[in-house]
């Protein structure tokens, strides 16, 4: 297993390098002089010159990348133009909020999604199944930011159960988690349902029936366990989507977090912050994918052997 983990981590290195190059290139691809994209507003020519020297902006691109990457490795992501503080400290302030929201939403999507998907598969063609299918359709077609706004409208404005926005209390987490969660639940439930239906037609399931194993055990201990494989695959591929959902939803609920920071900075063209946020989100996506791989290997011995 340790072997497997190391191999997977090594595979992520080239991906990380490519992503870092793309993100590095942002300030160079944006029209205009790169120095204007990273210098704070109202800087003197001397300050500009100092920055040019610090980042080697007069040197060839590859050298600039090396300098930038080197600083990145020491945690130096530059200075925010508008907010006038180190990008790393901005990220440090915002990251915990996104982590909490993202992981709660992920947990909610996984648990509720698997449960509803399994229920729909076991009671197929019943009203339970049809209800779940309807929720799946809604969850995968309704834009999440609109759902968030509706939640605010109903539960915060009209009923007053939860705060409209912000992150001052735990109750402020409920609506954002539910909003991101519905999309996640729809995804997980759909995969779980289809997978369980597929697997229940396999020979070994017939054999389990022939052995006299009670149906609930066949469903839970065998079929569901198999169904977890595609579920985990989808989750590890789509973990980014749930994080992406967090980006949108933070903005809707005016919560602090990487997503809000990213959108605000994009609108203000605060490129060092944009770079920092995108980099963190990319890392989160990669780690999420890795997590999925690990869980998959834990469930299926064949996966462990193939790559371990």
């Amino acid at each position: 297993m340790a072997n497997f983990l190391i191999k997977r981590l090594v595979l992520l290195i080239p991906v990380f390098l490519v992503v870092s190059v793309i993100i590095f290139m942002i300030i160079h691809l944006v029209p205009g002089d790169p120095i204007d994209n990273i210098v704070q507003i109202g800087s003197t020519p001397q300050q500009k010159a100092a920055l040019t020297a610090k980042y080697g902006l007069d040197k060839p691109l590859i050298v600039q990348y090396a300098i930038w990457f080197g600083k990145l490795m020491t945690g130096d992501l530059g200075e925010a133009i508008i907010l006038r503080q180190p990008v790393s400290s901005l990220i440090a302030q915002n990251l915990p909020h996104s982590l909490i929201l993202g992981s709660l939403a992920l947990a909610f999507s996984t648990v509720v999604g698997i449960a509803t998907g399994a229920l729909a598969a076991i009671r197929r063609d019943s009203w339970v199944d049809r209800t779940v299918m309807a929720v799946i359709l809604l969850g995968s077609t309704v834009p999440s930011f609109w759902l968030g706004l509706l939640m605010i409208l109903v539960f915060a404005v009209h009923l007053g159960w939860f705060p409209v926005s912000g992150a001052r209390s735990w109750s402020a987490l409920v609506l954002p988690v539910l909003t991101i969660g519905l999309g996640g639940v729809a995804l997980v439930a759909r995969v779980t349902r289809v997978a369980m239906m597929d697997i229940s037609r396999r020979d070994f399931v017939m054999m389990l029936h022939a052995k006299g194993v009670p149906p609930w055990r066949i469903n839970l201990q065998h079929i569901l366990r198999h169904a977890l494989l595609p579920v985990v695959t989808i989750l590890s591929l789509r973990i980014g989507w749930i994080l992406g959902g967090a980006v949108t939803i933070e903005y809707v609920f005016a919560r602090p977090g990487l997503g809000s920071l990213l959108i605000t900075s994009l609108n203000q063209r605060d490129y060092p912050v944009v770079q920092g946020c995108l980099l963190m989100l990319a890392i989160a996506v990669m780690l999420g994918t890795l997590l999925g791989d690990v869980v998959q290997a834990l469930i299926d011995p064949r996966v462990r052997e193939r790559t371990g």
Binding site: F204, M206, A210, G212, H222, H226, L229, P301, R302
Partner: protein, 325 residues
């Protein structure tokens, strides 16, 4: 009294009627061969006895299945379940797909002992390893901890057999237990099953399309064709004086050692589809002895010599014989 007694069993799946009035008995300690080409309803008969028809959307439309005096057709599902794997066990067709690929071999055999015999985990494991040894699985204790993909096909089939034996069943149903295996292993597996069954005095319903296997192992034979019983008799009578032309064709198809490879003969014509069974005797379009009546009237399963055959030609021949003398 017979251990298993199937009378006039008919099964429908949707609008199709793949089984039509199947009757046969299996006595205690008997090995009964169920023979026929694929599509004749052998596996479906096994599914009916196992009570697993609902899994494939089928249901019994008439007839009865009695096991040790219990009417299985009306048995409530929980009691049926207590019977499955405990008193009636199945050895499935394809060992490659019959084991749960992500659960250890041992756990899958232990499951039966734990479930039906109330054994502790440790006792079930000891028992499983013991059965695996009897099945001549080398290094049984190691294999017990392996996953299915780590075993060869022959080994997997032995594991499936071990699962079937785990709760000391009285009746075993082996559904073409060797078709998915290499030819060299086939005879070996059949021999292992037959030896075990004989040793323990179990009853066995052996489903196969190979009359050679039947000759090697069985006491009695039921020949199925297109969802009906064509002929039923003791092993010697079937091979000595086969009544039904289909039975004769099956016997003719047994591969012999002196035959050249590639000269295996099949029965001319194709098995009719369940969607479109011929009228009258369902074998008549392929039958060399077909009479005019065969296309119009369904032949009844009538006593013939020591057994039963459903064939107009056979009955006619018998009539002539008696008329002449």
């Amino acid at each position: 009294m017979a251990l298993l007694s199937v009378t006039d069993l008919s099964v429908s799946i949707g609008r199709l009627k793949p089984l039509d009035g199947i009757s046969f008995d299996i006595g205690k300690g008997e090995i009964v061969g169920m023979v026929g080409e694929s599509g004749s309803g052998k596996s479906l008969t096994a599914m009916s006895v196992m009570g697993l028809l609902p899994l494939i959307g089928g249901k019994m439309t008439s007839g009865s299945i009695r096991f040790d005096g219990i009417d299985l057709a009306t048995l409530p599902e929980p009691r049926y379940r207590a019977l499955r794997g405990r008193r009636i066990a199945l050895i499935s067709q394809n060992p490659m797909t019959s084991l749960d690929p992500i659960i250890r071999i041992g756990a899958q055999i232990d499951q039966v002992g734990i479930l039906h015999l109330g054994l502790s985990d440790a006792a079930a494991k000891a028992r499983s390893i013991d059965i695996m040894r009897q099945l001549r699985i080398p290094e049984a204790a190691t294999v017990h901890g392996n996953y299915p993909h780590q075993l060869s096909g022959g080994m997997k089939q032995r594991v499936v057999i071990a699962m079937a034996l785990a709760a000391d069943p009285e009746l075993m149903i082996a559904d073409e237990p060797t078709t998915a295996l290499d030819v060299t292993i086939q005879a070996q597996i059949i021999q292992i099953v037959v030896d075990l069954v004989r040793e323990r005095g179990l009853s066995l319903m052996l489903i196969t399309h190979d009359m050679g296997v039947v000759a090697q192992a069985c006491d009695k034979v039921v020949v199925l064709y297109a969802g009906r019983v064509a002929e039923r008799n003791g092993i010697d009578a079937i091979f000595g004086e086969p009544q039904h032309p289909y039975t004769r064709e099956l016997i003719r198809c047994i591969p012999r050692h002196d035959q050249l490879r590639g000269s295996l003969t099949g029965i001319p014509g194709a098995v009719p589809s369940v969607m479109d069974y011929p009228s009258g005797c369902r074998f008549h379009p392929r039958c060399a002895d077909a009479l005019d009546i065969c296309a119009g009237a369904i032949p009844a399963l009538e006593q013939k010599a020591a057994g039963f055959a459903a064939c107009h030609a056979a009955i006619n021949a018998a009539g002539k014989v008696s008329a002449h003398g």
